[in-house]
Symmetry: C2
Subunit: 216 residues, 2 copies
């Protein structure tokens, strides 16, 4: 276990514990992951198959499934984003008038979690520094997060919102920014503020983006 | 000129043209800048003197003034942020009801400018990747940008706003985020959107942060 932890410190413990692999697998796992990153960055999520990743890595497709599960799971591992997209519909579900608050609290909670925050920082750093990592994150956000959340968005009366993907992208811009200013750059006015005050300040922004009236 | 351009591509043309230096100065200039970065990162803006920077660089203080002007100018050069803080009061001045829109348009205009956008990206990249660059940017934002803007903020009736620095930090979180999502990660829903639509979507957020009612 120690070698894997050392070479891939960005992998959250939750992702490490469910694969049941033996010592000696890590070279193959890394090769598959590297092949997946190349495929997803160059061809996007839709244009990538497990079969192509397996061919690039020189392994049997069954081994990719064995190590990483579905294409969804492989993609999440390639991006190394410590967010399970399956959690997001639960954040969206519930009172539409409070979806902004739920989102901000969920997101800031990830940063505040000592097992997740450093991983989030690592993803930020690589997306900002490397074009391929930016391409992966872009694909992950636009093909997975945005669609997953956008499909669930509802107005207070239960009707679907218009322009759902644009709304989620705007919400993401505020969330990304508050994460960067509070946790990465550490501007004192936000870094030292009580978490609940930041939630209260920022939630109306996310609420307006997700369910409010936007310019036509 | 060519050697300087090659070694310091992040310096905007405007900053390069007013120093009147000769070929051969660039080693000294770089040493001064390096010393300034160390001082500002370790001691902050207030705790840094031109004299101390000169001592660290092994040059006469007059040479620091000759190359970089005031401490303000030296700080801006150290951060390499292509924004002249003196421009900001002009963005804040004018109809308080439109300050959000002016700010978003000014900021996105920097990203869209082909001579400034790449520099902004370089500043982002180093602040996210390097702790010292983050410390410099944090100090620049909190000691210069925030105070400069906060002191000018007015409500519609001309009265000063409460919590001005908290307001500007929140506005910065939205601006930083939209810059990152549109220009760095390039999420298509924001990257491909018409500039004026992004201004219209985001301006109300910045307006609320700067002059609206925030939770107590």
């Amino acid at each position: 276990m120690a070698d894997v932890t050392t070479t891939r410190p960005e992998t959250p413990p939750a992702a490490r514990s469910r694969t049941g692999r033996r010592a000696g697998d890590s070279g193959t796992r890394d090769r598959i992951l590297e092949a997946a990153r190349g495929r997803f960055a160059d061809h996007g999520f839709a244009g990538t198959t497990i079969r192509a990743v397996a061919a690039d890595a020189g392994v049997d497709p069954a081994l990719v499934h064995h190590f990483y599960g579905s294409k969804d799971d492989l993609f999440a591992a390639a991006v190394a984003l410590p967010i399970d997209p399956d959690l997001l519909p639960a954040v969206v579900a519930g009172d539409p008038a409070k979806v902004g608050e739920r989102f901000v609290r969920f997101y800031l909670g990830l940063w505040e979690d000592p097992t997740i925050g450093p991983t989030l920082l690592a993803v930020f750093r690589s997306a900002v520094s490397h074009d391929r990592a930016a391409a992966l994150l872009r694909e992950f956000v636009s093909a997975r997060l945005l669609q997953r959340v956008a499909g669930e968005l509802r107005r207070a009366d239960g009707s679907p919102v218009d322009d759902a993907e644009r709304r989620v992208a705007l919400a993401a811009s505020q969330l990304v920014g508050v994460g960067l200013v509070r946790y990465v750059v550490g501007v004192p006015q936000l870094r030292d503020a009580d978490l609940e005050r930041v939630v209260a300040d920022v939630a109306p922004t996310v609420q307006r983006y997700l369910t409010g009236d936007l310019p036509a």
